[in-house]
Symmetry: C2
């Protein structure tokens, strides 16, 4: 079966990407990072999603000794109620985050003989991150072709970005069509009992669900505690 | 002062690269990885070198859940007394190793405002690793320009490879000229009391020192224990 690595973050986009890859017949190996982010709720959500999709999940521990982002450093304020679609790179940008995540995915792919890496990056309703744009993904792909054993042997590893040109509304529709259990996903940058509703990630998610006149599904603490036992490794 | 990140492995090449960067006036921030390699002796050696050069060193912990290399998995035999200069990728290749290491260096560089990453990759007397070639380094550089905040803001981060076109003999001469304390470096893939002398890394090192009629300096266990207290963080 065609093996793939799926970068999972527990949010709507990466979960939809996982279900998309599954729908295309890939055997998916999920990867998430415990990298000192503000909260661990996204890891718990990723475990729920991986279990629901019956795919294995690896949690990679990374101790980043430096900060430089509102997602790593609680002393930096998270932006609230910002205008969506604004330009500029927000303080939630983590230096080289997707570059690091994709590099582990490439290593994992080579180690298990997978030829595809799926990432739920999105360049339409994105938050201004340079490492979510098609230009970057093409450059990453070109770099892998030069630096990996698989690359120089002509069996390249492809970076797949099925959501990159979709709006949040289109992602919500795709998630519905694929049967993604969106109530298990967590998008909020905060790790509270309920999503804060004012961070960029909450507002983009809300915009998506509002656009398709759908109730915004919420991963509650009770739901999380009830379902998080017996998670896939 | 012009800040730079130096990927240090405790071996001859990366140590020479550090001293080279220092000689060019860079303020060097060294980086080494504890990634489940066969032995920790290279980390101890890197600490000695960082201390000798009076540069700070960060040790980044990475728990790679997969194997796929003789440097990660003791069940895979290390090649012994192989012909140097042979073609093909040896079993000591670690999937995406330099891709991962450079990605952390890029993150660190952005976090502290450094504009240069030094890596001691060498494509002349190399062991067949695809991620040590100039082609790969150029592609990595191009990818950073697209994926980093610094890149899209036009303040690109440069990957510097001062040793890439040098032979081992030329590296040994450069190390001498720069005053690198080569007796503190460790190149052997094994972590024994003395270098094994038969792995690719030992043989390349020996070739370099023999070419310039120099005694091969050796980091002994006694030397290591004596000097490893009070290492730089």
């Amino acid at each position: 079966m065609n093996k793939s690595i799926v970068l999972l973050s527990g949010g709507l986009d990466s979960s939809t990407t996982l279900y998309f890859a599954k729908s295309k017949g890939y055997s998916c190996h999920c990867l998430i990072f415990d990298y000192g982010q503000r909260h661990k709720k996204e890891i718990a959500a990723a475990k729920l999603i991986a279990r629901a999709s019956e795919c294995p999940l690896e949690v990679v521990q990374i101790a980043l000794p430096w900060k430089g982002s509102a997602l790593l450093d609680k002393a930096i304020q998270l932006p609230k109620n910002q205008k969506l679609g604004r330009t500029g790179i927000p303080p939630t940008y983590v230096p080289a985050r997707n570059i690091i995540f994709l590099s582990f995915a490439a290593s994992y792919a080579e180690a298990i003989g997978a030829r595809h890496i799926f990432i739920g990056a999105n360049a339409v309703d994105y938050s201004g991150y340079p490492d979510c744009r098609p230009d970057f993904m093409r450059a990453y792909q070109a770099m892998l072709a030069k630096g990996l054993k698989a690359g120089v042997q002509g069996k390249g590893i492809q970076v797949e970005t099925p959501l990159i040109h979709l709006s949040k509304a289109q992602i919500v529709r795709l998630a519905r069509k694929l049967g993604v259990p969106t109530e298990k996903t967590w998008s909020c940058y905060q790790g509270g009992a309920k999503p804060c509703g004012v961070c960029d990630s909450c507002r983009l998610r809300e915009k998506g669900f509002n656009s398709v006149n759908s109730v915004r599904p919420t991963l509650t603490r009770t739901n999380l505690q009830k379902r998080s036992s017996g998670q896939p490794k």
